[in-house]
Amino acid sequence: MNMLTVSGSPHIHGDNETKKIMYGVVYAMIPAMLVSVYYFGLDALRVLLLASASAIFFEWVIQKYLIKGPVTITDGSALVTGILLAFNVPSNLPSWMVIVGALVAIGMAKMSFGGLGKNVFNPALVARVFLLISFPVQMTSWPKPHAIINGLTDAVTGPTPLGIVKEGLRAGQTMSELKPELPTYIQDLVGQMGGSMGEVSAIALILGGLYMLYRKIITWHIPVSMLLTVVIFTGILWGIDPQHYADPVFHLLTGGMLLGAIFMATDMVTSPMTHGGQIVFGIGVGVLTILIRIWGAYPEGVSFAILLMNAVVPLINRGFKPRRFGAKPGVDIKTS
């Protein structure tokens, strides 16, 4: 007979695994990856591969030679960070900047906090903001999307729809004057607009989100509360003055809104643990995003909004507890 194992209950384990969750996120990003390659060509592929490979490489180097602990690069978390980083930069970003971004994401935002599960801020967003502040020109020169079939060497760059609106309104133009310069909603949906690699196609992002909901990797609370807040907030402004404020649909479909709502704000590690807290978190991200978009210096505010809310997650966790069993008020007991 074998040696008997003696351990505490439970003696069975479900099929949840960190690895399965991480690769689930990777699968959910496939539609957006395909769209980015379709519109931005081989350059997108270059950034995707480079960001993923260097994220994994830096995690390996740090775990093996700096921390000298177990190497966990196969758990998929570095790969997720790498792809998300690629999604958050323009497809024509120089290779060395992509590598720097991966080092910041893994080294500074993740490993220096203690590795997987310990980081306070979303690693890919930390890297994006680092790059945006360090290399503002390269980080905001957006190649215009063209399908691969239209030619591979596309060097035309242009502003994002959010940039057009921000600059236009600042220069005194009205929304109706800006309209011809903006992509149509159909173009927003499929991804025919300027922007970071992973944020252009609403449909691809929503597909990924639905897949993660189905796999129970994310819950609806953060994306829905965040997007609903954006719709209400921008809806009010637009209702008051449609000439100086963009409409809610525009805000939903442009920039990093959907990428942020579906893939960045929902990051398990850096978002609240209870549904109540998640809703508050989503509302906070939504409000901050619009404040930055409309009154801030940058045309886009999703990254900053998420990072700011990441910082208050511990507070939210303290304030929002799950509904405890037994909290329901007492009952009338009928005596027989």
Binding site: M1, N2, M3, L4, T5, V6, S7, G8, S9, P10, H11, I12, H13, G14, N16, E17, T18, K20, I21, T72, D75, S77, G115, L116, G117, K118, M268, V269, M273, T274, K321, P322, R323, R324, F325, G326, A327, K328, G330, V331, I333, K334, T335, S336
Partner: protein, 447 residues
Amino acid sequence: MTGRLKTFTLGGIHPEENKLSAHVPIEVLPVPKQAVIPMGQNLGAPSKPVVGRGDQVKVGQLIAEASGFISANIHSPVSGKVLKIDNILDASGYKRQGIVINVEGDEWEESIDRSDNIVEEITLDAKEIIDRVKQMGLVGMGGATFPTNVKLMPPPGKVAEYLLINGVECEPYLTSDHRLMLEKGKEILIGTKILMKALNVKTAIVGIENNKPDAINHMTELAKGFEGIEVQPLKVQYPQGGEKQLIKAVLNREVPSGKLPIEVGCVVQNVGTAYAVYEAVQKNKPLIERVVTVTGKGVRKPSNFLARIGTPIKDLVDAAEGLPESTGKIINGGPMMGKALTSLEVPVVKGSSGILLMQENESRRKPESSCIRCSKCTYVCPMGLEPFLLARVSRVGNYEMAEREMIMDCIECGSCQYTCPASIPLLDYLRLGKTMVGAIIRNRKKN
């Protein structure tokens, strides 16, 4: 069954059911050669032996008596000679006091009605029923082994409105309650009637999960002949067999934190207990045997045995055609809440619902990795707790915070650990925290 099936609303999981022995009728296991009867078979104080070495005992004879309010009598499950009263290994893994009896024949106390006829008429009054239940050493048969008579005596000022009979059997693999409902359904319902009389309640509800449609149909059919007894089918969800979850599922009432079911007018008894009540009250038979499931993926003949208390588990395993080569873990109870055993010599006790033999390849825990703060443990906790947080503060010894975060509400169902993608042994830490916080609370009360 119309509309959505009832269930509890907070948390819960649905592990693979693996009810391998659901269609195997209960088989009477031969009397063992030697019976080993631990004194600590019930929740509360262990029983005190009233026989001595060399004494001749009959089946059903009192051999140990309750040593406090929350304690229970023990009767000899066999006839023969007391070999010794000594420390013996029980399911806890510790050696504790027990009575060892060398079996000679099978001679029963004459007061016990061993005939097959079903006695329906209840002649005892409420007080007599409670006394009989106490005298016959009945404890909760679902595994918690709380003395049954104590549950039948609500504290002053509290009244019972409903009696819930627990036929949920939500633990994977186990089928002893299922078989008992199919084969002793009528006796269970008479037992329920007896309990209703003792508690003076008008309505009893038998809760059964709908992975046992045959038991639901059978019990529903039988219940037509019993006034005030209803059968409530429930959606399959673990841990619905927990008292608080069952009450929530059936009546949508929530037992407040730290309180007993009587707080919301309920008393919950297991179907096995209802059957034991029938036997004790109508047949004058003490609790000396019970149905035990022997199961597992490698087991050649998954079975349900009617075994005498004190029978070594080895006898049950042998009757199920032996211990499979591949066995890596032996569990007393189900896979979610059962206890891993160190030996096959451990005897069947009043709370033994099953023996699960797990194969080597399913015996070990998966390696632990970092918490990714996915919240899954929080989503599945049926008590609305945050297991990740409780485990973390227990690990570092912050028991003050553990208490504030209501660690004592944990029912140790294991759903958190089952669902953790990082395979963190959450319940190990929670048990540690509960033990420490429990001690702190007891100390505080003393001062």
